[in-house]
Symmetry: C2
Subunit: 327 residues, 2 copies
């Protein structure tokens, strides 16, 4: 069993980097001071996010490949949520010297595989020492010339709220199974796998949310990272609207988690309304233009004079809150 303390940094990078492909857009790949990537236009879309051991994942309860896929997805989702196409990722891994090289190889392979599925390549990386494992990914995306990014702020009263996922709350339900530390049946294992590495269709962000000519259909978009209600409120606040979620529709999401809720003594509504780390696209559309792949779950209404943006359920207040790193 080779641990990373046994290798030099450059020796380690050699073990991890060869897995990466080098498409034509990558003018300079890993190995120099920086990478050079060709884009569709002279604009770059950029986002960054970190996963830290014991805070964002439990090392003993997941795998290197799943950590890599999750780190990729949470950043690719932010690019997709701008209606932009991911093109490149760079990754900075900090790890204890006792970390197995095979573990990092799995992490790197998981990251690269998820990125490639969405058309992006890992073009650079950095490896450093730390007491706990952490993975920071920065994703770069491209927009065609003249194509406007899809912001959070464009929703209007009368728009429909829709989500690019057949089922919400799975990541939170999977986390509940992990924290319960109980034997799991098949359904539970699927939920845990989804929590460890959520697998939403991110391409909806740069395909379905736009027309064939590249103009946006979505009036506003973000990805669900901290919960439907919390992220919905962000969109509502940025746009100056209220959002009313539809109980009848979300009841289908809740029903799919009924077994897990019963087994764990939890209310699946909490998972559906407040569960984070889904990374599905959450967007608003003109009422008659919800595209395939998106599912209507609510509507946008006008703000009353002086009122703050709210997210309601069938017009009523919602209890509870989404995820906050420090709350």
């Amino acid at each position: 069993m080779t641990r990373i303390a046994h290798l030099t940094e450059s020796g380690l990078l050699t073990r991890i980097v060869p897995a990466l492909t080098r498409p034509p857009a990558v003018e300079v790949g890993p190995g120099d001071d920086a990478a050079v990537v060709r884009l569709a236009s002279p604009r770059v879309v950029v986002t960054t996010d970190t996963l830290t051991q014991d805070h964002d994942f439990l090392l003993r309860a997941t795998t290197g490949a799943r950590i890599g896929r999750k780190a990729a997805v949470q950043n690719l989702a932010d690019i997709a949520a701008m209606g932009a196409h991911p093109v490149a990722l760079v990754v900075s891994v900090s790890a204890p010297g006792s970390t197995e090289v095979a573990f990092l190889e799995d992490l790197s392979a998981g990251l690269a595989a998820r990125a490639e599925r969405d058309g992006a390549s890992v073009v650079g990386g950095d490896l450093g020492a730390a007491d706990a494992l952490s993975v920071t990914v920065t994703a770069l995306g491209q927009l065609r010339e003249g194509q406007a990014p899809i912001l959070r702020s464009g929703a209007r009263a009368g728009d429909v709220l829709a989500v690019g996922s057949p089922s919400l709350g799975r990541s939170a339900a999977g986390l509940a199974w992990i924290l319960a530390e109980r034997d799991r049946e098949t359904g539970a294992r699927d939920l845990v796998a989804w929590h460890d590495a959520p697998d939403p269709d991110l391409s909806l962000g740069w395909t379905a949310a736009r027309r064939a000519d590249g103009t946006a259909i979505a009036t506003a978009m973000l990805d669900i990272s901290d919960g439907l209600v919390r992220d919905g409120r962000r969109l509502a606040t940025a746009s100056g609207v209220t959002i009313d979620l539809e109980r009848d529709v979300l009841a289908h999401d809740v029903a799919q988690l009924a077994d897990a809720g019963a087994a764990l003594g939890a209310d699946p509504w909490t998972w559906v309304l407040h569960g984070g780390e889904e990374h599905a696209m959450l967007a608003t559309f003109p009422a008659d233009e919800v595209p395939p792949g998106f599912r209507r779950i609510g509507t946008c209404g006008a703000l009353a004079d002086g009122a703050g943006a709210e997210v309601l359920l069938d017009g009523g207040r919602i209890e509870g809150a989404g995820f906050d790193h420090f709350a």
Copy 2:
């Protein structure tokens, strides 16, 4: 004293982000899923690097502002070393809930100030919880249309090796003072400040290393992050040359550290030859074209048949090695 656990993540970001300026190149700044930045051409130069508490800095021995400046410099230097102009930074900070908000504000301000000096803006950030403080910066750079990046691999026998710094070894000498935990005179305080936040002239990478028409004068370039000998060997290996450093020239660098060496019982040659975290530009030029701001410190020679690339001092072998994260 407000600690970050007292605020929500978005409340915290509001405290940290307002310090940031928003130049015209930043089409979408912090606050949406991702930032959008306009570049000089449809190519982006990208690099990422992490600083971790107790591994890359001693929290009790530095300040938030210095950590921010160091995190900026080590990434901006990688952009500069491609002969590219920095345009934007994103930063991911992981920190314990007990971290003081004022400390993070200082870190953010130091990072932004250093970036702005080189023409770059902080366009996005992420804040998460961790047991130890870490700061990951990703820097984006631009190249004018048709402008080739300056790689490590272009040095040729007969080229001159030159460094964009008046004095090497200061960062390592400063670290030696920190680790000695002794009272410091003025000179020592300057070295410690340089170690905490090295301040090389990075603009040499995108100005002096190129002609006015943008073509490269430098045949190869990188920045000194792990030591003159180790980084010199990387350049030599990528280019297929040997490098011979000039003892008479480097003796001036050594002389400037003589007092520190005497006070600490250390050999300043080790700091000059092997000291990392200088982040000065190290480049090769045709012999008659070393530009102002660069100082000749050696020459490139042809590889003997079957021999590996080496870095020598007046033709002789050099003992010791540079910094390795896991060695």
